[in-house]
């Protein structure tokens, strides 16, 4: 299709184009690796995973040097997470720390080596998930920021936002039973799982919204048609990241 033509035409300079706003954080400019990091964030049912999948397919088909990583997937701490969840042993603090340990594993063994090795890394959820979710559980935002301060700052953070009802209905319709922690049952908001889930997601949504400016999220309307939204996403990635450096080497 015309995809090839689309990304080949892009000849934007380097990463800094993404942060030409005045509020660039010192860390963001001190990047010491040739790779780039694109993350998607948003509440469950906001459409972010679908969109990142399509972005990944686009880049994969084009033969780019990419790697896809998702939240909560490292085998090293999986057994502990599973035990904690099954037996409901987790408090807001240990829930947060265990996920941070898991993320650190992925960060130090996947994300950082790949960034240093010149990969374009795509992450389905990143540290902002922890900021939004763990703060909704009662962890202090300042403590959370410190906890994750070892994480590289993304080049682009797409924030997929869908109205609460739309997102919640997408999840509840597709799942017979919401899991205990997923529904925020540990917070004791409501004995009804669907109700608890809704209130929990509402809090998370509020926390995400507060980060739009401070963390330079790119707001994506999750109610827009999938292919239309994907077109926009690809365009933004092409504008802000020099994709040539990840392109397959020509002989």
């Amino acid at each position: 299709m015309c995809l090839g033509a689309f990304y080949m035409a892009i000849t934007f300079p380097n990463i800094p184009a993404a942060e030409d706003t005045a509020t660039v954080k010192a860390v963001a400019t001190k990047r010491q690796y040739p790779g780039a990091l694109v993350v998607v964030e948003g509440i469950d049912g906001s459409g972010k995973s679908t969109q990142l999948y399509l972005l990944k397919r686009w880049l994969e088909i084009g033969g780019y040097r990419i790697h896809f990583t998702e939240w909560n997937s490292s085998p090293l701490v999986k057994s502990a997470t599973r035990r904690g969840k099954q037996r409901r042993l987790l408090t807001p603090t240990t829930f947060s720390l265990l996920h941070a340990a898991d993320f650190a594993d992925r960060c130090e063994r996947q994300i950082l080596p790949l960034l240093h090795g010149g990969y374009l890394v795509l992450a389905d959820r990143y540290i902002y998930t922890a900021f939004a979710r763990d703060a909704a559980r009662g962890c202090a935002p300042r403590w959370l920021r410190n906890l994750y301060s070892f994480a590289p700052v993304p080049d682009i953070t797409f924030y997929f936002r869908a109205p609460l009802d739309v997102a919640v209905n997408r999840i509840v319709a597709g799942r017979p039973k919401l899991k205990y922690y997923e529904a925020g049952m540990d917070l004791g908001i409501s004995l009804d799982r669907a109700e608890s889930f809704r209130i929990f997601q509402e809090r998370i949504l509020g926390n995400y919204d507060q980060m739009i400016e401070t963390d330079q999220f790119i707001l994506m309307d999750g109610t827009v048609r999938v292919n239309k939204l994907q077109k926009l996403m690809r365009q933004i990635v092409g504008e802000r990241i020099n994709l040539d450096q990840f392109a397959p080497k020509k002989k």
Binding site: L89, T91, T94, L98, A101, C107, E108, R109, A140, W143
Partner: protein, 273 residues
């Protein structure tokens, strides 16, 4: 025996929700029991127990002293709860498994230890303190901070994580020279373990050298931490009975126990050297 039953009693079970009967007896509240932001949901006025921490490297005699102090305090009628590293139900065994592999990285290991620590703090220590028990900690956040700091993790970062930890009433540091610690540890196991000698840090291929360098780095961190957090430094190279006498004296003064007389029971007499 009823007394011993009570000691490890129901109040500290995994789901123990002790009653909120931490009645204030007009005792003035100590200044701040947390280093920074308190743990979510903790009411300080409920914590009527006392937390004593014993810190020191491997081979400093901590565990021996904890056993003896526990017996002494119980004989004085105090209920005791203990804690130590990797003892949490949540992740204790997982850390053992992680350390058996060579693929774990420093931040992950550091955060797994934090998880282990806070799980014990929330599920074991705080319930015990709410019930007015005495908690004896065989190592605390200081070892965790020191171990991570010598591996290059920022001290501010580490203090930031542990700012939600409870401040001990007294922290004792059993200070021993690395050479002495080596002798003691070697005698125990006829070898020196991978982690005790900091072999992940590539300090030396020789186990002895590696152990000495690693423990020296840890010791330097402890000297810094000792100043920052006001440790009571004890000569860990002294005899078990001498060290124990000093510990009893300081603890007795803190708890208002008049007599510090103690002779270990038959079961523990082998520790008394």
């Amino acid at each position: 025996m009823t007394r011993t039953d009570k000691t490890n009693g129901s109040s500290t079970g995994p789901n123990g929700r002790p009653s909120k009967e931490a009645k204030k007896k007009g005792r003035p509240e100590p200044p701040s029991r947390f280093y920074g932001t308190p743990l979510p949901g903790v009411k300080l006025e409920e914590l009527s127990g006392t937390l004593f921490v014993l810190e020191g490297t491997d081979g400093s005699g901590r565990s021996t002293q904890i056993s003896l102090l526990t017996e002494w305090l119980e004989s004085e009628g105090f209920a005791v709860q203990t804690m130590g590293l990797r003892r949490s139900f949540l992740v204790g065994e997982d850390i053992d498994a992680l350390m058996a592999e060579n693929s774990v990285t420093r931040t992950t290991l550091s955060l797994m230890y934090s998880t282990d620590f806070f799980d014990q703090l929330e599920r074991r220590i705080l319930p015990a303190l709410r019930s007015g028990l005495i908690v004896l900690a065989d190592r605390y956040i200081f070892t965790l901070i020191a171990r991570s700091a010598v591996r290059g993790i920022g001290r501010d970062y580490l203090h930031g994580i542990y700012e939600m930890a409870l401040r001990p009433d007294l922290t004792f540091w059993l200070n021993v020279r690395p050479e002495i610690a080596f002798d003691r540890e070697f005698k125990k196991a006829q070898t020196i373990s991978y982690w005790e000698s900091g072999r992940d840090m590539s300090l030396s291929n020789d186990l002895f050298q590696s152990f000495i360098r690693y423990q020296s780095l840890i010791k330097r961190e402890f000297e810094y931490l000792s100043k920052r957090h006001g440790f009571i430094e004890l000569d860990g190279e002294g005899s078990v009975s001498d060290v124990n006498r000093v510990l009893r004296k300081r603890i007795a003064a803190h708890l208002g126990i008049r007599s510090t007389h103690y002779q270990p029971s038959h079961a523990l007499s082998h520790l008394w050297r």
